[in-house]
């Protein structure tokens, strides 16, 4: 068996400072090393700042999930101030949920239409029966559905124009609620915009009511629904057709625990999407034990040679470190690799379709994308509920004076998974700030024990065709995780 080595990059679409080193033998990936090729140093920049300044800095970690970063920081500051989610004015809580959901759903839409599906328009698939239709819909800058989705996305983000002033780098997200009160007429117009987006999803993506998609409760039900119409009737059906033809359910498998912190706080303080750690072997969602989270910098160009909890962690570059191959640390949960993302959220929240599909084939290219699309169907109705619950004239924001000393945590869900901020305040200034982003989990390098991260594991066994320099199957696997490299390389 001869092993050849491929260096693959740049991996574009979502901000793409990603390089993958593949050892290929017998037409399959034998081992993968994932390199996040950039370092920016936000955790260093935040040292010594006024804690509120985090709300200006952290959204700028990422122009893709900037609201998620803001929400994590706002929650950390709220935790430091000793204010509970229930203590926040209801309007403020709804506003934060709405802003986060707007961004997360936009990310799912963008991922599907602009980042993931275009790979099926590559010439390598020209002989497939679905190719012509996929090309007509998803070819970059040309496909008519890709263009319609871009337009739908632009309209969708006008919701954040109203609720948050602008996007990205919205700064109305605050520890005590939102800086932007909305009035009755605005509330109604926002509801109209959500309905407009619903119409795009129901006409173009699903070719079905959102509720019909959200209520699919098993793979058998999904397959029965697929067969009810032509194989390209709606983009979900076309995706199912392609996934079936290319066996995407066998590609990029993960069997590890799946982590979600839970998202969208309800009036009772509980998240609308429950968090947890999905244990595949037991088929159970267990509580997240935050004390068990560590980051290991063994193979990162960063100081540190033992796993540390984020409260104790440091992020200091060491560009000449031997054995390092990425700027990303290796987050671990009780020493184990964990996958995060929409599939983890749906598993932990207990959606029967995703639990059924994952029970059969693990997490994989198919189930990761399916979970994202399902989430579009599930969250839009929640947004309609939150907007109806808004009460113009009641408070939107509660002041949150901060103590001089605090240790605090802010947890939320970005589109691509669990996002955590760990903050320490001393003498009224930021003494330490550590960020563990979703892509840090999914694209993590090997740890001190040599255990590869989720993507590194998922790439093992992926086919490489003769002559391929940027293997298309590898691209499907990488993009199924929807990497957000700038979050990782904060």
């Amino acid at each position: 068996m001869s092993t050849t080595r491929l260096l693959v990059g740049p991996f574009n679409r979502v901000e793409g400072d990603l390089e993958v080193r593949l050892d290929v033998a017998d037409g399959r990936v034998h081992a993968a090393h994932v390199n996040a090729t950039m370092y920016r140093g936000f955790e260093q920049m935040l040292q010594g700042k006024d804690p509120h300044d985090a709300l200006v800095y952290v959204p700028r970690i990422c122009g893709i999930c900037s609201v998620s970063q803001s929400v994590a920081a706002a929650y950390a500051l709220r935790d430091a101030a000793g204010l509970t989610p229930e203590g926040m004015p209801a309007n403020g809580r709804h506003a934060l949920n709405l802003m986060l959901a707007t961004e997360n759903l936009a990310d799912h839409l963008t991922h599907f239409y602009l980042f993931f599906m275009p790979d099926f328009t590559r010439p390598v698939y020209a002989d497939r029966p679905w190719f012509a239709e996929a090309h007509a819909r998803f070819a970059p800058l040309q496909g008519h559905h890709a263009r319609q989705a871009t337009a739908a996305r632009q309209r969708w983000f006008t919701i954040l124009g109203t609720l948050g002033g602008k996007w990205p780098h919205t700064q109305s997200v605050l520890p005590g609620g939102s800086a932007r009160a909305i009035d009755l007429a605005e509330r109604l117009r926002l509801l109209g915009k959500v309905r407009e987006f619903r119409a795009f999803l129901e006409q173009t993506l699903f070719a079905a009511p959102l509720e019909a998609i959200a209520s699919l409760d098993s793979e058998a039900a999904l397959m029965a629904w697929w067969q009810q119409a032509a194989p390209d009737h709606g983009d979900l059906r076309l995706f199912l057709t392609i996934a079936s033809d290319l066996a995407l359910g066998d590609l990029g498998r993960g069997d590890g625990p799946c982590l979600s912190y839970g998202a969208y706080v309800q009036p009772d303080g509980q998240p609308a999407m429950r968090g947890g750690v999905w244990d595949a072997a037991q088929g159970l969602s267990l509580p997240v034990e935050l004390a068990q989270i560590t980051e290991d910098a063994t193979h990162a160009w960063l100081d540190g040679d033992r796993p540390l909890h984020p409260h104790d962690g440091q992020t200091l570059p060491d560009a000449d470190k031997p054995a390092a191959y990425t700027w990303n640390k290796a987050p671990r949960l009780a020493g184990r690799v964990a996958e995060t993302g929409a599939v983890a959220r749906q598993l932990n929240d207990g959606h029967p379709l995703i639990r059924d599909a994952v029970a059969r084939t693990g997490t994989n290219v198919f189930t990761r994308v399916l979970a994202r699309l399902l989430e579009l169907a599930r969250v839009v109705p929640l947004m309609e509920d939150w907007l109806r619950a808004v009460r113009p004239g009641e408070p939107w924001h509660q002041p949150t004076p901060l103590p001089d000393t605090a240790r605090a945590t802010g947890l939320t869900e970005a589109a691509r998974g669990a996002l955590g901020h760990w903050l320490r305040i001393e003498h009224g200034r930021i003494a330490n700030y550590q960020i563990v982003a979703p892509t840090s989990w999914n694209f993590s390098p090997r740890d001190a024990d040599g255990t590869p991260g989720p993507l590194e594991q998922a790439l093992v066994g992926v086919p490489v065709q003769p002559g391929e320099t940027t293997p298309v199957a590898v691209q499907h696997v990488v993009r199924s995780f929807d990497p957000c490299m700038v979050c990782t390389v904060h």
Binding site: P10, G41, T158, G165, P317
Partner: protein, 353 residues
């Protein structure tokens, strides 16, 4: 000065404007912002304006070797590069090596690629404040030695050097500095207008301000069109987030000093920072990331904000402010510290005269 590109790959009238867009030490937010441009068909808008994207990280199919080949074609004069757009700061660290950002798949620092491609480009544009000045990426102690293409904060220089110039369309004898489409993120309209104007040969170096920003947006102030202007007039000030009043006195707002048209060319349909309930942090200005005070609070001396409107004598401002405060209508005063209108404008019993 670097060697100006050869004329062999000159763009003839009617040919599309070839744009290559690369990202370095930024957040990708300027690209994501661009996708929010106010049009029902963004690719159609570009095509109709004569803009051809050679490659954009979020929007192009090409990945890996195909991208590297495309850039090598530019370097070997096989492909014409009309505008090189750089998003994100240029990371010179550690110790000048550029290793904080290696272009994936190439084994080379991004700053090397940017320098070599800039020498081939007819125009170079910094998209966003990171590429223009270093921006937020140069925050704190600037751990990555981040800088802009031709500035480091307000200081000329940056990666390409103060004397760097490009020829624009060859034959016009124009000498262009880096075009700084600054903003954090930058507004999609600023980018689209700049590229469309370049494609139409309708922009000249004289249309840039002293910091290289297109004057069509940089000759405005964020203050213009601010919905809080009545509160500003009467110095009726917001005291906490979500209050309706003017945010200059207490909340750190720099809208009277920040060059941009955010309140007349709105964001995402109908927004702006001040309309969103938070202060302008002057993100189009060099060095905005290090104001020397907490962003959300206005630094004052003897109760007077230190950051007053730049074109107004301080003594006049103080005198006018105290006068207008004494004349503040009750409506404006009460609404300034509420999150919705608590005192509506009076309805007069007789017709307006």
């Amino acid at each position: 000065m670097n060697a100006l590109p050869s004329g062999s790959l000159a763009r003839s009238p009617g040919e599309p404007l070839n744009v290559l867009w690369l990202q370095s030490g930024g957040c990708g937010g300027c690209s994501m912002s661009l996708l929010c441009a106010d049009t029902p068909d963004l690719p159609g808008t570009w095509r109709d304006a004569g803009i051809r994207l050679l490659w954009h990280p979020s929007l192009s199919l090409e990945t890996g070797v195909d991208v590297i080949t495309l850039m090598e074609d530019v370097l070997a004069d096989r492909l014409r590069l009309d505008v090189l757009c750089i998003e994100g700061a240029l990371l010179r660290g550690p110790n000048g090596t550029g290793r904080f950002h290696m272009l994936a798949g190439t084994g080379l620092p991004m700053i090397d690629w940017v320098q070599r491609l800039s020498a081939k480009a007819h125009l170079v544009a910094a998209v966003g404040s990171c590429a223009a000045w270093g921006g937020i990426t140069a925050g704190g102690d600037n751990p990555t030695e981040a800088c802009g293409l031709q500035h480091e904060d307000e200081h000329p220089g940056g990666l390409l050097g103060e004397s760097f110039r490009t020829p624009g369309r060859p034959g016009t004898r124009a000498e262009w500095p880096v075009i700084n489409i600054a903003g954090c993120p930058t507004h999609p309209g600023w980018v689209l207008d700049t590229l469309m104007a370049l494609a139409a040969d309708a922009l000249t170096p004289a249309d840039l301000d002293a910091l290289g920003r297109p004057r069509f947006y940089a000759d405005q102030l964020v203050h213009h069109g601010c919905t809080r202007n009545e509160y500003y007039e009467f110095k009726a000030s917001a005291e906490q987030p979500s209050d309706l009043g003017c945010m200059m006195e207490h909340m750190g707002c720099k809208g009277t000093q920040a060059h941009a048209d955010c309140n007349t060319r709105l964001w995402n349909g109908e927004g702006s920072c001040t309309r969103g309930g938070y202060a302008c942090i002057s993100c189009t200005e060099p060095g905005f990331q290090a104001p020397g005070h907490a962003f959300h609070a206005t630094p004052k001396i003897a109760g007077i904000p230190i950051g007053l409107p730049t074109d107004m004598p301080k003594a006049w401002y103080v005198a006018l402010a105290s006068l207008s405060k004494s004349a503040t209508p009750k409506r404006v005063k009460h609404n300034a510290t509420a999150d919705h209108v608590v005192v509506p404008p009076a309805i007069r019993r007789t017709r307006l005269k």
